[in-house]
Amino acid sequence: MRQLLNKALAAADGGEVYKRDVHSTSVDIKLGKLKGINADKKREVALRLTKNGLMGAAVSTSLEDDTLVDRALIALENQKSHAITFPNVPPRMVFSFSPEVDQLSTEDLTKMAFDLSERLKAKAPDIPAGVRVHKNIKRISLLNSAGFNEVYDYSNFSLSLYTLTEKGFMGSSKEYSSGKVAEVSDGDLDRLIETHRLEKNTLTMENEKMPVIFSGNVMGALMLRVLGGVNGGNVLKGTSPLKDKIGEKLFSDKITIRDDGKMAFGVNTCLFDDEGTPAKNTVLYEKGVLKNYLVNITQGKKLTQEPTGNALKRTLFSKEIEDTPSVFDTNLIIEGDHQEDELILKGIKRGLLITGVMGAHTGNINRGDFSLNISSGYLIENGKLQGKVKGAMITGNIYDLFKNVEAVGTHYEVMRSIFYHMGYSPMVLFKEATILGK
């Protein structure tokens, strides 16, 4: 890395070398049979350099790629993106790596998947089901001309359980993802089976407004819109509705949202972000009051805010090394006046529990709009789940919806934003939401 940086500095004013070594394995079991095992061992390198106030980047799969510096210079000469000042702030230790995950062999992962498949089968022999187990180990190294020279290891263990309907389509599901090996309780399996069996009792809805519970996993579809609002880039462009609203109470005081890159063994925990800013814990909304935006180095200067450690090489649909570092979530955490999940459910006379949606990526995300198909939702009457709702949608805008937070649950689930996990949330009860039925 040092050699490449030196070569770059011979032609530029400043430089940064980012290296990512990845080793991952996935095991997939469907209906008790192993579908396949996929693994990889990849190295990718990104070079960014600055010259005369401009910036350029190039990536490769090898540190020895002779064309890296030239390609970065071509990029620099053809674009007007302004050079950032590479940071050199020493990061503090985070817990992003678990040797226990690292040491899992392909055989171990396969056995785990089979064991879970068998546990599900023993509880419900009549329900067709599947198990996916994924292990990901990364080593991230970053060296820049300001003197930053750090490395961290990252581990992730993800697990998903799902059932199939009588027609063979996806039924109920449950996901786990963190830096440590997930433990699946019998209670989790029982809930998966319970919701699966509700499939037999399908219900249609009228167009109506009613209380709605979003499960922790599905909160990701809404948090994608929260993220679009607090993204410093969108604030500066004027596409976020949150410009000049720091300090205003925009959500119910029953909810607090923060982004914690330092969370021990979180799904997106990192020592530093992809431009070298140390990970932070940033409160976005405290009891409904907007406290901070998420910003990278350049946006932070314009918004007079310290960079928050959220400049990540990714887009909504990819996590490729060539993606320009832009503001995304690390571990979004939803908190509030927690109430037991069971009590929240019991308190509802007529409402919906939503555990799956489609269309999270559509509509004007930065403005907070959503129009989601309820792919997995259950009608609640007098505190009990009655049956699975078919063909309904939920629509609205988060800046209306989040004013109506009634309760935040206790059992945290990993949130998903389309392809990727984005932190953790318990179930959240909204007093009223618009459901489009028949």
Binding site: K30, L31, K33, L34, K35, G36, I37, N38, A39, K41, K42, R43, E44, A57, A58, V59, S60, T61, D65, T67, R71, A75, N78, Q79, K80, S81, T106, L164, T165, K167, G168, F169, M170, N207, K237, G238, T239, F317, S318, E322, T324, G356, M358, G359, A360, H361, T362, G363, N364, R367, D369, F370, S371, N373, S375, K390, M393, T395, I418, T434
Partner: protein, 450 residues
Amino acid sequence: MDKQYFKEALLIRDFCDLRFQDFSHTTIKGGMEEIDEVSIVKKSGGNVRVLSGGGFGSFAFTDPKDITLAFQEAKTASDLNPGKEKLKRIPTNVAHITVSPKADPRALPIAEKKELLEKYRKLILNNSEIVDLESQYYEQFTDTLILNNHGAEVQQEELICGMSFRITAKRGEITQLTRLSFGGNEDYGELLDKEYDVLDKVDQTIDLLDAEPVKGGNYDVILDSDVGGLFIHEAFGHLSEADNLIGNETLANTMALGATFAMENFNVIDDPTRLGHPGSYVYDHEGTKARPVSLIKDGKLRGRLHSLESASFMDEEPTGHARAKNFGFTPIVRMGNIYIDQGKSSLNDMITSIDDGMYLFGSAGGQTSGETFTFAVQGGYRIEKGRITGMVRDLALTGHLFTTLKNIEMVGEQVTFSKAGGCGKGGQILIQSGKGSAPIKIKNMGIGGQ
């Protein structure tokens, strides 16, 4: 790319294949202010698969020196799978496919491509109500070597370039977002002289600021070719991908060939061999020569898309539809260019047949989960008593696949393909996935306003 080195690494026993790819991707991106990102990505790597046990084991790598490790790991993974699966048909094609575009984007300097994007950017921004713009030129070239230990040796170049724009207009509290794409094939010439298309899209975006939000409910709708293509991709295309059926007998029964899915004269085809679209190619990533597949013929399920594995499982012929985003991924069954074939109804006949409904234009992303699907559109026109009246905005559609297919009442006379593709199956965003359609009329479609 050292072909001999890779050939010598192939295992002698059982089945194995190897795909090594040199991948380059050039991107020029512009925002509201300026062209702020130019990137030239070059990567190379490989992916091997072994079938020595009860299922495939695969391993991806970036360092060619890891080839032996890759085969060892893939074999270990395959052997962990109890049983001894064998492919019924294995390709042995030997071919070298090169691209020869009319106007080759690789021969042009970055500055020229940047200048063209800048010209269109300025046209769009010459309107004070445009408040945000994301513009992009992309160019992707791959040189892929596919080998297997039964003699297949296919080297194939693929090239695609295009431009895309996301345009946001705002007036007061109302914001509208539209998308525009052109290109989507190997010919740079198709990106030139698009001023009219650009200005037309700007006008449409501004017009949508005056449109009325729609009240959610069920309506008779006409989908334009772009939305029709998205509909058939999301609502039906994914179910025609036969890897979903492996080990899933109940779904295989649901998707039994001959089952009636739609009215007579309703035809759906997937054709990677149709040149000039995002999903056009000659060989898939298993070395099988791609062929057009009739998926629905006269309303009945006629065929499905296959990989080697799914074709073996169903005891059908491979169709050449196993593809991967890049070397980092194992091939899965993907659509090439899927489309609803032409029917006999004129657009005017469709409009006059609707008493209370909408004509919807411009796809804006979709998703499917088994029987249900959802997708967003850029805008629409209200149809009242057989006549187009005002514009409507903020629309998302949802439906049940089998019901919606049976609710298709009319199919237009002209098939048009979208200029941008894309599909995110299995977390593998594949830009080389095309879609098209004749306009279609669907009765009683669920529409959610926002």
